[in-house]
């Protein structure tokens, strides 16, 4: 991206002043190098977001922003329903409530070493992963409705999780306002056999080691210390979320034209929050959030069973569960006034600071854990929300590295078995059903997650707590 088109706010924040059809400015959080490497499309797309009705304050791009459809991935935008604000299916994305959860194991990487291969094999055997994989839970229609209403709380009630987990999941594990009746029969059918499955692409389950601590106080509060083994799970709302995204993207594109909203890009498809289609989408999208929360809870439950089978007495406690593709109603102080706005985070993580009332009391001192996923060979990070994040970008931070190379290009560079062998030499065990999938997801195909995390930290969006490196990766 051409830096000359941006106004420097600080070394880690850059402004695109409002001009033309823009209702508000756009702000990109990144260091100079990340800006230079960023797609020009991010500029175009974040400017487009700034033109949407009812947008508040500014359109924001996180340090890992890259070309999305409509909104950039790494985009954050708030809309006020009282000012004609909109909700956008493209502003949430196809994989609704895709996110990351990290579980503490109470074990060290050294404890796991003797049974590492068996652990990798059992996790791979019991956690369904990859194209076409199905879970052991097949939902009837009434159970589907209960799941779409209840989220992780439904999973816990069915015996697929621990009640103690719910405090450590956004929304207490259950997104309010879900309307299962807005979820189409096709979305339901895509989900029937997919509960408790990882999916494919960049989704994974990893056993990781805490390699570095940046903030000892927060790390202690989170229960993290160097050498600890943790489990991180990255996945979303599976076929149900994809189908809802597909259907509403289309319907909103058609409805926008009919209601006179001029879209600079069809993929910005949106509808007034107060409109019937806007309300229908919110009801369906919240049901999809519950699907994702239930899905990660079930996978967490399977993971616990696998650990207990190999290591008697092993107990996995949930550190936290974040979603990074959502639209949520939140209160924020904007220009000195407390307002209720609809925050879209597409490839961006909510990052509530210390004392936020939506956090459990155990996290009041530290702020919310912000979990940033890597990819097989690359590190993942635990950060924590900051007090100033609210004034910067409605308490939001980055979500991951983002691709540096297309899947096609990655296939030309690497072979799956070669990637697996190279990582094995570094002590990282990969289990996947697809050699081609592994090649397409080679660590070198991704940008440097460390640079993205450093920029988030330096910009004040979130504060670094710990760096994790993979020991085992079950690849979706």
């Amino acid at each position: 991206m051409d830096m000359n088109r941006l106004e420097r706010i600080s070394a880690f924040a850059w402004r695109i002043p409002a001009s033309g059809a823009m209702r508000v400015p756009a702000v990109i959080f990144a260091d100079a190098q990340l800006i230079e490497d960023m797609d020009d499309k991010v500029f175009e797309q974040i400017v487009n977001v700034a033109t949407l009705p009812g947008i508040v304050e500014a359109a924001y791009a996180m340090p890992d922003a890259h070309w999305g459809y409509g909104f950039p991935i790494g985009g954050v935008a708030a809309f006020d329903p009282d000012e004609g604000g909109v909700v956008s299916a493209g502003g949430v994305g196809f994989d609704i409530s895709c996110g990351v959860r990290t579980m503490l194991t109470g074990l060290s990487a050294r404890d796991i070493e003797p049974m590492k291969a068996a652990l990798a094999d059992d996790l791979f055997a019991y956690v369904p992963a990859g194209v076409g994989s199905t879970g052991r839970i097949v939902l009837s229609e009434p159970e589907m409705d209960a799941m779409l209403n209840g989220g992780a709380a439904w999973a816990v009630a069915k015996g697929y999780g621990n009640a103690a987990d719910l405090d450590s999941i956004e929304e207490g594990g259950r997104m309010a306002g879900a309307e299962p009746e807005q979820v189409s029969p096709r979305a339901r059918k895509r989900q029937r056999k997919e509960m408790g499955t990882l999916g494919s692409g960049n989704h994974y389950l990893e056993v990781q080691e805490v390699i570095e601590i940046f903030d000892s106080e927060a790390a202690r509060a989170f229960g993290l210390k160097i050498g600890d083994a943790v489990v991180s799970i990255h996945c979303g709302s599976r076929g149900l979320g994809h189908q809802i995204g597909t259907e509403f993207l289309r319907d909103m594109a058609v409805a926008a034209a009919e209601s006179g909203i001029v879209l600079p890009d069809r993929e910005l498809a949106c509808a007034p929050i107060a409109s019937p289609i806007g309300q229908r989408y919110l009801g369906a999208m919240r049901a999809a959030i519950n699907c994702a929360l239930a899905n990660r809870e079930i996978i967490g439950h399977i993971t616990r069973q696998v650990f207990a089978g190999l290591i008697p007495g092993a107990r996995l406690d949930l550190l936290f569960d974040v979603s990074h593709n959502t639209c949520k109603v939140e209160e924020h102080v904007i220009a000195g006034e407390r307002r209720t706005v609809f925050i879209h985070r597409k490839g961006a993580t909510r990052a509530f600071g210390p004392g936020h009332t939506d956090l459990p009391s155990s996290l009041h001192a530290t702020g919310q854990p912000v979990l940033i996923g890597g990819s097989m060979g690359t590190a993942s990070y635990v950060l924590t929300g900051t007090a100033q994040s609210e004034s910067l970008a409605f308490s939001s931070a980055c979500h991951g590295a983002g691709r540096r190379m297309s899947r096609h290009a990655a296939l030309k560079h690497w072979k799956g078995h070669q990637v697996v062998d190279d990582l094995a030499k570094r002590g990282i065990l990969i289990r996947s059903r697809s050699s081609r999938g592994v090649a397409e997801e080679a660590p070198g195909a991704y940008k440097d997650v460390g640079a993205v995390v450093d920029a988030s930290h330096n910009a004040g969006l979130a504060r670094k707590v710990a760096r994790l490196e993979p020991l085992i990766c079950i690849k979706g």
């Binding site: 196809f94 895509r190 597909t246 069809r266």
Partner: protein
């Protein structure tokens, strides 16, 4: 690309399969019919591809051969394929949906049609 809108749609479907697997290894064992209707040819293209994504996901199938008939803005298509065989197809990635990014369904010069869009995986 193709000499007609129908042919271009068939090629777009083949490209969709190529995201997942090598289309040449897919056997035509079963035929699945889909129908869609839209307000313009571009949305008709995403509807066609998304109908295939849905059939692939719910039937656990992969398709390697397609036939499309378009009458006005109404499409009737048939896709031939088989159940996913992980060993033989090595499916790389699930397709979440066809998007409206870089979406085109046009005759860019006489007798030369383009049907394209980005698919999300």
């Amino acid at each position: 690309m193709g000499p007609s809108l129908e042919a271009a749609f068939e090629q777009a479907a083949l490209a969709l399969t190529a995201v997942l697997t090598d289309p040449s290894v897919v056997e035509s064992q079963t035929a699945v019919d889909v129908e869609c209707e839209a307000l313009d040819p571009e949305i008709l293209l995403t509807d066609w591809l998304n109908a295939l994504v849905y059939e692939m996901a719910t039937r656990n199938m992969v398709f390697g051969h397609f036939r499309v008939r378009i009458d006005g803005l109404r499409l009737r298509g048939r896709a031939w394929g088989e159940t996913v065989d992980v060993g033989r197809h090595e499916p790389a990635v699930e397709i979440k949906g066809a998007t409206m990014t870089a979406l085109k369904a046009i005759e860019d010069r006489p007798g030369h049609w383009i049907a394209q869009c980005v698919v999300d995986v």
